[in-house]
Amino acid sequence: MQITQFFRRHPMEIILIVMFIFLVFAAPGFATVNNQLNVLRNITMQGIIAFGMTMIIVSGEIDLSIGSGVAFSGCVTAWITRELVDVTGPFFAITMGALTAMAILFGIGVLTGKLRQHFNMPTFITTLGLLTVLSGAANLITDGFPITSFPYEFNFLGSGYLFGIPFPVYIFITLFALVYFLMNYTSFGRSLYAVGGNLEAARLSGIDVWKTKTLALGLTGVFTAIAGVLIASQILSGSASAARGWELDVISAVIIGGTSLFGGKGTVRGTLIGVLFLGVIVNGMTLMNVSEYWQYVVRGGLIIGAVWMNHALDRKVKA
């Protein structure tokens, strides 16, 4: 009885563990420390954004622009570095670049929220437009060629190790903890759920519904910029073609983690599981030499399966 209860409450965890065990035996090289660290590093960038995306989706909105946002922030950082590095030295130049990228994406998130508030523009539409706008902007900045203005030391951020663990993992964990705290222990987090669950009821309860949504969009902008800087560090350049198509991976991870696209329901803990799940499965399939096309099919099927399962179990738990 208790075991079935546990299974119903945490289905994705259990499937993740089962799959993990399966891959340990089936996928050559899966169980090595190096490979596991590799998986971790691969999931951090998208994971960071997925944490922010959880807040947005719970609040009843969506952000489709993050793929371009990542590329754009990498390019902005690289461009500012190139312009400033001779004057100020690399450290200050890169810092300025990264902060600028964060500020711009925060601003764009806020703007998206304001458009939603004052002109009733669905974020689905605004951010779909932004996906193209930001991609264009990134290409304008780079003129179509990656900007390779970074000194080699900058590579540490995205590819380096600290105490044997990839550096981005620390950022990943920190931001997870931050979002976890925000969503569970702050009035902002509680408002996210209320606003996504019933906008009018939240408004009539004196909750600042627009500030809540706008802040979620803005914060995710900052997270997107952080991921962009990390990617730029990994590839040591600002490239307009980085992170193409990420929006679907990120949203998939959030949904696999049990967050409802209708808003009001979901946890960042679930998203963490969703992110790990996708990371492990992609890695496992690659090690097993599954063709890339099949990987797409499997991942797509997983999303559908996960949503169906969450829905079915939800009804079981209620009945």
């Binding site: 019933n198 009539l204 004196g206 009945a319």
Partner: protein, 500 residues
């Protein structure tokens, strides 16, 4: 007399809760059967089972002597078992006609292509509404109607199915006397035509007027059935609550301080909803606003609270002029508003009872923006106890509560903010007689501690009982004021209907 519906050991279990417990009874044909019981006693569950909305856990039912298995509400409708549910279920964006004929719009055929016949839909709706003497047009959009008007549309929709068994789950909870009378005329006519009805209400006064038999449930069990002609209200109450001490309406002296107008409204207008509304609310006062459906009471309250805009006029709270009220600011300075339509705007249905009871007090409980469940729990426990909210666990979704218990959550959510001024819009809608007294008592106790409140109810008896002073609103205007202690029910009714 022959039975139309017979149930044998009908049981419905939700998780740990036995909502309906071996309910066995015969309902006779062509009669009006009242179902009574306190909040959460299983009345709606019985109706939902009969209407095919939920499946019984065990037990049998038969309709006209034949086994009855409804696997969906559509099955029930096909058998002419029609339900008016406790919570409204109209599509807010659609018109009255579209709602009534939802999914079965009349069609016309042209060159073999079938298309919706709007003229016929509109005409049929019009006839239906006129037959019920309703002053609503077939093209009115549902969301523009008051909750009471929506309820009448819901009833009209039920009529359009030609019910042979009609299940009415608190059809009058949002109706004023005029509409109630209209409904009763309709029900009597249906009874004459052979329709059987089950009728749920918490308004005792309606029973004598409309019910033939009364069936009482407690904790999901069938306690007993009596002929209305052979029983008294107090017998019914005894059956409903068992042998517990009853709350009697307390003697009360007004706490209003006529020298301290905590809220002043001057010349407030938003055409066409209301016009030139002026009044004062004194500290410690319970001020009623009475009027018919559509008189503009809710609209005025919503504007003052900042939920809707207004065109012109002044709002002064505690001597301070409020420029552009919005709910967030008004909540901050100590106002509160319990909306009349709990399902749509009062609650987040999918969220827990705990969260719904802590929503309005969120910022108070989190002065630095940081909140824990533990910080909120005292408020949750307090309201569950004070209001006798029947719950299994505070972590259950609020949607699992019975209608009356959900209403108590709306009330409790606001009492947790320790408000200075409260607007209660139908606070007792769907709440049982005892819990109602409890709510009134809380309003009075708080008044003694300085709470000033505005009280709106379609039940005029209630207004006379609760309020210190009653303003009369008619067609969007304040037309005068009455002293409840000097006013009879008939006088109040006439004032609302025809003016002073």
């Amino acid at each position: 007399m022959s039975a139309i519906v017979e149930t044998q050991g009908l049981t419905k279990v939700y998780g740990n809760v036995v909502a309906l417990d071996k309910f066995t009874h015969r309902f006779e044909k062509s009669r009006i059967h009242a179902l009574m019981g306190k909040n959460g006693s299983g009345k709606s569950t019985l109706v939902n089972v009969l209407a095919g909305v939920v499946q019984p856990t065990s037990g049998q039912m038969s309709l006209n002597g034949k086994d009855m298995h409804f696997s969906s509400p559509a099955d029930a409708l096909n058998a002419n078992v029609v339900t008016v549910h406790q919570e409204l279920s109209l599509v807010p964006e659609l018109s009255v006609a579209e709602n009534i004929y939802l999914g079965r719009m009349p069609k016309s055929h042209f060159l073999g292509i079938s298309k919706i016949d709007w003229t016929s839909a509109r005409t049929k709706t019009k006839i239906l509404l006129e037959d019920m003497k309703l002053e609503i047009g077939p093209d009115a959009i549902i969301s523009s109607l008051s909750v009471g008007q929506q309820q009448t549309v819901e009833i009209a929709k039920a009529m359009s199915f030609n019910p042979s068994l009609l299940l009415l789950d608190e059809p009058t909870s949002a109706l004023a006397s005029k509409e109630v009378e209209m409904l009763f005329r309709l029900l009597r006519r249906l009874r004459k035509q052979g329709t059987t009805m089950m009728y749920i209400s918490h308004r005792m006064s309606e029973l004598a007027e409309i019910a033939d038999t009364v069936t009482v449930l407690r904790d999901g069990k069938h306690i007993g059935t009596v002929e209305m002609a052979e029983t008294t209200n107090s017998d019914i109450v005894d059956m409903m609550f068992g042998n517990v001490a009853h709350n009697r309406p307390a003697e009360r002296v007004s706490q209003a301080d006529p020298n301290n107008a905590i809220l002043k409204v001057q010349g407030l207008s938003r055409k066409p909803a209301y016009e030139d509304v002026s009044f004062e609310l004194f500290k410690g006062e319970v001020l009623g606003i009475a009027g018919m459906l559509g008189a503009g009471r809710t609209e005025v309250l919503r504007s003052i609270f900042g939920a809707d805009p207004f065109d012109s006029g002044e709002i002064i709270v505690d001597g301070q002029k409020i420029k552009d009220p919005d709910p967030q600011y008004m909540t901050e300075i100590g106002l509160g508003y319990t909306p009349e339509n709990r399902k749509e705007v009062g609650l987040v249905q999918a969220h827990s009872i705990h969260n719904n009871l802590s929503m309005a007090s969120l910022r108070q409980n989190a002065p630095l923006g940081i909140i824990t469940k533990a910080a909120e729990r005292p408020g949750v426990i307090k309201q569950v106890d004070n209001l006798h909210i029947k719950i299994d666990s505070a972590e259950d979704p609020v949607s699992s509560l019975s209608g009356g218990n959900q209403q108590k959550v709306v009330f409790g959510n606001w009492m947790n903010t320790n408000p200075k001024i409260m607007f209660f819009d139908e606070p007792s809608r769907g709440v049982d007689v005892q819990a109602k007294q409890q709510i009134f008592k809380i309003i009075w106790d708080q008044a003694e501690k300085g709470l000033s409140s505005i009280f709106v109810s379609t039940e005029l008896e209630e207004m006379l009982e609760v309020c210190d002073r009653i303003l009369i609103m008619r067609e969007g205007r304040m037309i005068g004021e009455l002293d409840p202690s000097q006013t009879t029910l008939t006088e109040l009714y006439t004032a609302c209907m025809e003016g002073l």
